[in-house]
Each structure stands twice: as C-alpha cells, then as structure tokens.
C-alpha cells in the first residue's frame, strides 16, 4: 500500500489503549497490535482491563473491556500510565476511558455508534463529538460500522456477521498510524479461521479498509515511527505472567526430574495457569481439576508424598480455603508449591482487578506456628524465574512454599528473552535411597531439610501426618519439649533459606535521601518513577523485594542506608507492617493504593517529591 504524503514523527515510547464493548474483540485487537510491535523490534508491556461480567449489557460502562499497550524503543517497565492513543469503539468506552488519555491524545472512535439512545446508555447528556468537550484531543471520527460493512459487501455477509470484523478496522488504522506491517495479522487470521475462508477474507478486507482510511483521513496529519528497542540481543517471545508461571513450574519439574502434578480449582485471575498446564500432557504434566480448592491443595500434597512436584494454584479466596491443608504441608514438611495470583479482596472482592492484599495471609494465615517460604514475582517475565526458584527451594529445602503474583502481572505481558534450559541449575531434592537408614525427621545439618522417602521404594516404609511427630524418629508425640523443638526446627529451616538468597540490591546510589521500597508486581511502576526522579537529580533509590520469607540477610542495612524510607504497596500497608515488626527501630513511611489498579508513575513521583520535601 502506498503511504499517504504525511510526515513521519519519531517517538521513543507510545501508550495505546484499546477499549470497546466486551464483545468488540478489543483484547484480541490489542494482542495483535502488540505482537506486530514486538516483531518489529519494540520492547513492550501490556495489560488487559476487563469487566467481571462476560457480557454485561451492551453499550454500558459496565461492559467496557480495555487493553493497554506500552511499547517503545527503550526498555519498557510497565504498561504505562496515560495513553497517547485511545481507541474507543462506542460512547461507553469513551466515557470510561477518557480519564486514561493524556491531554492532546489521539482518540479514534466509531461515529456510527453515537445515536441518542446509545449516548444515553453510556451516560452522556449530549454528544461529546459535537459539544466541544473533546477540544483538548485530536479526534479521529471514523465511520467504522459503515466502512466495515462496505468493505465486506462483495462477500454478501449479513450485517451482524460483517460487524464482527469492526475491530480489524481499528487495527488497520493503527497499523497505518504506526507504520506497521499487516503480515503478522494476516497469518494469524489464516491460522485461526483456517476452516472459514469467508471469515479470513472479511477480516483481511476490513483490516485493509482501516489502513486505507488512515491514508486518507485528514485528522491524521502524521504517522509515528517507534524505532526498534536497543534491548539485549537474542531470541524473544511475548509472554503473560500466568503463562510464564506455568512454564517456570514446568522448567523446575524438568530440572528436578520430579513429575509436575497440579491440583487446582478455577478462579480468576489464576485460572490461566491451570489452563496452560493442562495443555502439556505431552511433557507428562498431570493436571487435576479438583472439586474445590481444598481438594486442589490436598491432592497436590498427596502427589508430593508420592514423589511428584505437587503444585496448587489459586487466588485469594482459594488461598483462604487451603489454609488448613497448608498447615498439613508444613508439619509433614513436603515440598508443596502454592501459587497465589492476588486479586482485590476481601471475599469475592474485585475478581478481575489486582491488589497485594494477601501478603499477611500468606505469611500468617494458618493455625499454629506454620512458616513457609514465600517469594513474590516482580513482572510478567519474572513469573517464570520466580516460579522456578519457588519450586527449587521447596524441593531442596523440603518446605511448602508460596509464590505470590497478582492479576496485573498475571494478565499482563512482556517480551521474554528465551532462556536455555542448560543455563538453569539442576534441582536436587534430598531423596532417600532405598533400604537406607531413613528416619522421617532426621535433617540435613546445613539446611535442616528432612529426606523425601517415596512410596514404592524398598525399605523406607513410614508414616507421616498432621499430628505432631517426634524429632528424628517421626512417631506421634505429644511431648511438650518435643513440640517446642519441632516448632523451632520448622521455623529455623525456613530462616536458613536466607543463606542461599542473593543480597537485596538497591537500584541507585548506596545512600541518599529517599529509599523507595516495594515488593511483588509493582516493580515496573516504582522503578520507572524512581528512574524519573533520579534523572531529575534526586537522590532516590529503590529496593524491590522478591523474597518475603525469609527476608534477604542484608535487609536491615538496606533499610538503614537512606535518610528516609517509603514503602509503596497496593494494599493498606501489609509489607510495611511486616518490616516494622522485624525492624521496629527503623522509621518507615508508607504509600498505599487500594483501588484495584496499578500505581501510576505520575502519582508515585508526586509522592516521592513530597516525601523528600517533608521535614
């Protein structure tokens, strides 16, 4: 296609937000654009933002589904704050997404959807396209429905079928705006609709129509060039956090030689891990969709007992249901891996939104003294490495372990530099040898891990269970001294994991005015904000924690290195409570957000500036 005679503007990074009715296919549109951007060498990060209802009433704000993409020619840490381009397929999506658009942003909207009735449903008193309320933006008024139907007229499709391709129009238009190729989308369509040639043809025609519209429409004065990113050379793919978690677990299974067993019950936003793992029977993965979360975790505990790498995946309410069983895994000292993809709570809360509200539940939500290893993934790609490491530590230290991720990084995606399995360490669980002098609670002197004696092995018959057992020999024991000793041994075993953990790093100078502390899925936003502050000359550092229990050994030094400490988290202040409990003499202030939304770089930098200025 010959490009219009418009000028090309170069930009380092761009945020596009796709929004429409939940049936409008905005998730797919966003994904296809992202893949194309990635293929052209951009670094990127994405985040879908969709309603809890599968199909809320059409054209209402409740039914709006969004997808945000942040791509650029430099390292991209987050899915971005405010967008440069907003695609709003109907008035409701404009209504609910305008707040996510920068002043001066380009808004692409389907003007065929602005009938009075639809405007009213979206809560507009007057037509925003005409009442001047969008004066601060560049409006691209596209008759998307009309042009879509025209584009497919030759195929003789009915209006309803034709309208299903409207999203391709928006996509084609964006491809024009950002000088991107259509090939990847063509290939995708050919594969996806291989059995429906008409649908392939219709979508291709509409995609092209959108592109051509871009060439001709006056409102688009220039196209935008985002150069390939100067990121580490290598082979890349796009990956969501949930898929990365699933693959990290599989990698740990491969490296340990322990078959992966997953016992799980579907729950947003963790279900994708179950769905992903269920695809990989070819690699021997056994997924068991249990009748409830309790069966999910207890079947995984049974699988651990039998010698598999037992895993259970869930989200907040499911973790609550699993608590009793987690205590069982603690007292039997089996290497159960728990993945908790956090969402807004309490109770059903905000199922599709993200929060960091389960930290204290993960740490303390069990009866008795029941310590577990806990780590938290920092980004979609980090889910791969964190899942691997959680499973590695669980098996090598014979302790149940929790990996905390959240809906934001679980659903979000990033470019993933494909690693080689040869570069990962072998995982060596302490498996008891046949006919050896096995005692259920004899421990490795260094790690305090007990041995893993697998049923079916000659000479190792033994019994474990939820009743307290005698040290070393593992007989049922109610001896008071023994119970206290076992309690401290279980605690000490988890604490000693710190011996193998890397020291906590500070991003920035070793000392300065403000140390920003964060943990888990917020790393990207906090890091971007800290970078911005540093560029502006502020002495701000960033300590992002991946290891929660135990904390890295140098945590005290890290927290004492700067004049002020500010702990930022998406809850009412759980990590800061935990740090204050551990380091009562270190002053820390806190910044919390509990809106089911990630931080924005803008609000963080404002808070940092204010904190530095405070006396």
């Amino acid at each position: 296609m010959a490009a219009k005679d418009s000028k090309v503007v170069e930009m380092e990074e761009v945020v596009i937000r796709f929004s429409g009715d939940s049936g409008d296919g905005m998730q797919l549109t966003g994904t296809l654009f992202s893949d194309t951007a990635a293929l052209s060498g951009n670094d990127l990060s994405t985040f879908p933002d969709f309603p809890a209802e599968i199909r809320a009433p059409q054209n209402t704000v409740a039914g709006v589904s969004g997808f945000q993409l942040h791509f650029g020619s430099s390292k991209i840490h987050t899915s971005g704050d405010l967008c440069d381009v907003l695609v709003a397929m109907n008035p409701a999506s404009l209504k609910s997404n305008l707040k996510h658009a920068k002043k001066g942003a380009t808004i692409i909207t389907d003007i065929d959807n602005y009938e009075p009735k639809i405007l009213e449903k979206a809560g507009f008193a007057s037509n925003p396209l005409e009442d001047g309320s969008l004066g601060d933006y560049t409006l691209v008024k596209a008759p998307i429905r009309k042009l879509t139907r025209e584009a497919v007229a030759e195929l003789g499709l009915d209006a309803k079928t034709a309208d299903k391709s409207k999203n391709m129009f928006a996509l084609g238009l964006l491809f024009y705006m950002f000088n991107k190729e259509l090939d990847h989308t063509f290939h995708f369509l050919e594969k996806k609709f291989a059995k429906k040639p008409v649908v392939i043809e219709a979508n291709k025609l509409v995609l092209k129509a959108g592109y051509i519209f871009g060439e001709n429409v006056e409102a688009i004065k220039s196209t935008i060039e985002v150069k390939p990113a100067s990121i580490e050379k290598g082979k890349y793919r796009n990956i969501t956090g949930n898929t990365a978690t699933a693959w990290g677990l599989m990698a740990a299974s491969e490296k340990s030689g322990r078959k992966l067993f997953l016992g799980s019950y579907p729950i947003t936003p963790a279900t994708e891990i179950l769905m992903e793992l269920s695809k990989h029977r070819n690699l021997g993965v056994k997924t068991f969709q249990a009748e409830d979360e309790i069966a999910g975790v207890t079947s995984a505990i049974g699988a651990c007992f039998a010698g598999s790498m037992g895993v259970t995946t869930t989200s907040g309410p499911g973790l609550s249901l699993k608590s009793e069983a987690l205590g069982l895994a603690v007292i039997t000292e089996l290497p159960l891996v728990v993945v908790n993809v956090q969402r807004g709570g309490p109770s059903t809360g905000l199922p599709t939104k993200s929060e960091q509200g389960d930290l204290l539940q993960a740490l303390y939500g069990r009866n008795g003294e029941a310590p577990m290893f806990i780590m938290a993934a920092a980004s979609p790609v980090d889910c791969f490495y964190a899942a691997f490491e959680t499973a590695q530590i669980a098996m090598e230290h014979m302790t149940p372990s929790i990996l905390l991720t959240d809906g934001y990084i679980g659903f979000g995606s990033e470019l993933f530099r494909i690693p080689k399995m040869a570069d990962f360490p072998e995982i060596k669980p302490p498996i008891a040898a046949p006919n050896s002098d096995f005692k259920p609670y004899a421990r490795d002197p260094e790690t305090l891990a007990r041995q893993w004696a697998l049923p079916g092995t000659e000479g190792l018959r033994h019994r474990i269970g939820g009743l307290e057992k005698s040290d070393v020999y593992g007989q049922v024991s109610t001896d008071p001294q023994n119970h206290e000793r076992m309690t401290f041994l279980r605690e000490e075993k988890v604490q000693r994991i710190a011996n193998r953990l890397p020291e906590q790093e500070i991003f920035g100078q070793p000392e300065g005015d403000l140390l920003v502390v964060s943990w888990g899925g917020t790393r990207g936003f906090v890091r971007s904000a800290v970078e911005r502050m540093q560029k502006a000359g502020h002495k701000v550092g960033h300590a992002h924690f991946r290891y929660i229990m135990p904390l890295p050994k140098n945590t005290r030094q890290v927290l004492s290195a700067y004049k002020k400490v500010l702990v930022c988290e998406l809850n009412a202040g759980q990590f800061v409570k935990y740090l204050r409990m551990n380091f009562p003499d270190i002053a820390m202030s806190q910044y919390n957000k509990v809106q089911g939304q990630p931080f924005t770089v803008i609000e963080l930098t404002e808070k940092f500036t204010q904190t530095i200025q405070e006396a």
């Binding site: 893949d35 990635a38 060498g41 390939p228 580490e232 050379k233 290598g234 082979k235 890349y236 793919r237 796009n238 693959w247 599989m250 491969e254 067993f261 016992g263 990989h280 029977r281 070819n282 690699l283 021997g284 056994k286 068991f288 249990a290 009748e291 309790i294 069966a295 207890t298 079947s299 995984a300 505990i301 049974g302 699988a303 651990c304 007992f305 039998a306 010698g307 598999s308 037992g310 009793e324 069982l328 494909i418 690693p419 080689k420 399995m421 697998l454 049923p455 079916g456 000659e458 000479g459 190792l460 018959r461 033994h462 019994r463 474990i464 269970g465 939820g466 009743l467 007989q475 049922v476």
Partner: protein
C-alpha cells in the same frame, strides 16, 4: 480367590501378616470394631500379593483414621475429610501404588462428602474402607450423617431431626463401580470383600458396619446379634441365588419393579423364582435396591453388592492421554516449548 492382574508390582516372596504389623501401640478402645478391620487388612494384604512397599494408607481424622499408624506400609494421616483428595493425588502421581483410604462416617459423609462423591465419580483406582459407626467417635459422641433419625447423642439430646445417608446409595448415586458392605463381627467376609476391592479396577468402597463400644454401643445389634443375624442379613455372592435365613428358607425375588422377600416352599415359591446376584452388571438398578434394603421388611445386604466394569479409571485415562499426546507432539522438552510458536530475533 482368583489372581489380581494389574500393573502394581508383585512381591517375589509370599508375605505374611507379620510383614504388615507395625510396632506402634494400637490405641483404639478394647472391643472397638476397628481392631477387626486392622486384623482383616493384615490378613488379606499377603494374599493380594503386592510388594509391601507398594501399599499406601491414607486417612482423614477420627478414631478410624488412626489406622495408618497401625499397619507397616507407607502411610499418610491427613486432615479431617480430605483423605479421598490426598489419596487421589497419590494415585494419580504414581498409579503403580495400591492406595487404601480409611475414613469414618463423619470424615467421608460430612466434612469430606464432596471429595467422597467426586473420587467415586472419577473412578480413581483406590480402595476406601468406610468405618461406619454412625457416630463421631474421636470427638466423643456427636451424631453423624449416618446416625438414624431420632438418635440420641451428645448433640441431639432430644433425638436427631435429620434423615441419615445410606453410604451405598451415595456411592451408586455418584456412579460408583464398586460397593460392598461388611460387618466388623464377620472377619472372614471382610477379608473376602477386601480382596475383591483390591481386584476391582476403579474406586472400591467397602462400608464396614463398625461398633463403637463407647459412644454408640450396639448400634448394629439388631442385625449382628448371633440370634438374629441369619434372619436379618443376607450375604450376596456373585452367581448365587439370593437366599438367607437360619434355615436358608428365605429369598429375594423381583416382583414387578420392586424387590420382595419370599419364603421357599410357600405359595409354590421355588429357588427358580429367586434373583441371582450379579455384581458385575453395568446397570446399577438392582444394586441400588439391594443397597437400600433394611429391616424390618428386608434383610440388610452384605458382601460385594456392585463390582461393575462400567467405565475406565481416571488414572488409566491419564496415563493413556499422556502416552498418546506425547507420541503425537513435536515438543519434547522445555527448550522445545520455549522456542515454539511466535518468536523473533533481536
């Protein structure tokens, strides 16, 4: 007894009951029916013939669930109600283990009811010994989901006002492929049944009517008392006519769509009129009627009521799926997976 044929490895030497005796002190009350179950297990395990390392006991919580400590096999004493789920994980993880669940009526019918029915529905090849004393023993005498309507217990001083479960009905309702009923006071029948349970491919539920001497003593006297046992129970055996009674003069026949107790020689009734027991038939209709039989009009059915090859086991289907999908797949390791699909060089 016939041979057991499956993939679980057999012992090269003949084992004895001593091989399964644990060194632990058995702490059930003297006279508790659980002792008889333990004795039957140590008697039948050498007959089953697997290597001793291949047996695994999994239990929940309750007096009955202490069982794993008292047999020298691999054992897992779990948490209340969850034995079925733990055992599912054990068996799916390693199908070459012979997995035995021991559970109480509270453990499997109340707190673990959900796992119980789903275990059966999936037909995972494990054996579940349901020690039904119609009471919560360990917590000292509260009524259970199998306590009869009106039962006076510590939490029902005026009698219960809830209708009990009949475990057999529940098993069949959940599409169970194996259900048997045994008496703690009849160890011979119990061992026979346990052997059949082991031989069956699929979830085998063995309900043991078990006396709790402390909190529900005599719960089954009406049928177990020597003076009436022959009259009030019927022991079903595959291929045999359904005959019972001290003088073996009574039988069960089908009258229209219902079962009926008849007396041989009365009204011209002969053995030819009686039903022949077929535990292997797929249709559970008669099995359900047999499981439901109760006094005063009917004898209580004992023995293997159902042992149908109605459908494949979950664990077999899992292994088959893994084998067939692996054979077809081009992805054989993590490196293959990581590099599959859309990738690009930068």
């Amino acid at each position: 007894m016939t041979e057991i044929n499956n993939t679980i490895e057999k012992s090269p030497v003949k084992l004895t009951r001593e091989d399964f005796m644990s060194d632990q002190m058995v702490k059930w009350c003297p006279g508790c029916g659980d002792h008889a179950v333990l004795a039957a297990v140590s008697k039948v395990f050498p007959e089953i013939g697997y290597k001793k390392e291949n047996f695994v006991f999994v239990s929940g919580i309750g007096c009955s669930s202490r069982f794993p400590y008292y047999v020298n096999t691999y054992g897992f004493h779990g948490i209340h109600g969850r034995a079925a789920a733990i055992a599912s994980g054990v068996k799916i993880a390693n199908p070459k283990l012979s997995v035995w669940i021991v559970s109480g009526d509270g453990d499997s019918m109340a707190i673990g009811g959900n796992h119980f029915i789903h275990l059966i529905r999936r037909n995972i090849d494990v054996n579940l010994l349901l020690l039904n004393n119609r009471i919560y023993g360990l917590t000292k005498g509260q009524y259970s989901p199998t306590s009869p309507l009106g039962a006076v217990t510590k939490t029902s001083p005026y009698g219960t006002i809830e209708h009990p479960f009949n475990p057999g009905e529940l098993v069949l309702g959940a599409q169970g492929t194996f259900y048997a009923r045994a008496l703690d006071v009849n160890p011979k029948l119990m061992t026979e049944i346990m052997f059949e349970a082991a031989r069956h491919d699929g979830t085998s539920v063995v309900e043991v009517l078990q006396n709790c001497v402390i909190f529900n003593d005599g719960a089954y006297d009406e049928i177990t008392d020597k003076t009436v046992r022959e009259e009030r129970t019927i022991t079903l055996r595959a291929g045999e006519k359904m005959i019972f009674g001290a003088k073996r003069d009574k039988g069960i026949r089908l009258n229209g769509t219902s079962l009926e107790v008849v007396t041989l020689g009365e009204n011209g009734i002969t053995e030819d009129d009686l039903l022949v027991h077929d535990p292997y038939q797929t249709d559970p209709g008669i099995h359900l009627m047999l499981a439901k039989m109760a006094g005063p009009d009917f004898p209580v059915a004992l023995g293997v009521i159902r042992a149908a090859k109605a459908y494949a086991t979950y664990d077999d289907l899992m292994e088959e799926q893994i084998a067939s999908i692996s054979a077809k797949s081009k992805i054989h390791c993590m490196d293959d997976l990581l590099n599959s699909g859309d990738t690009w060089m930068i």
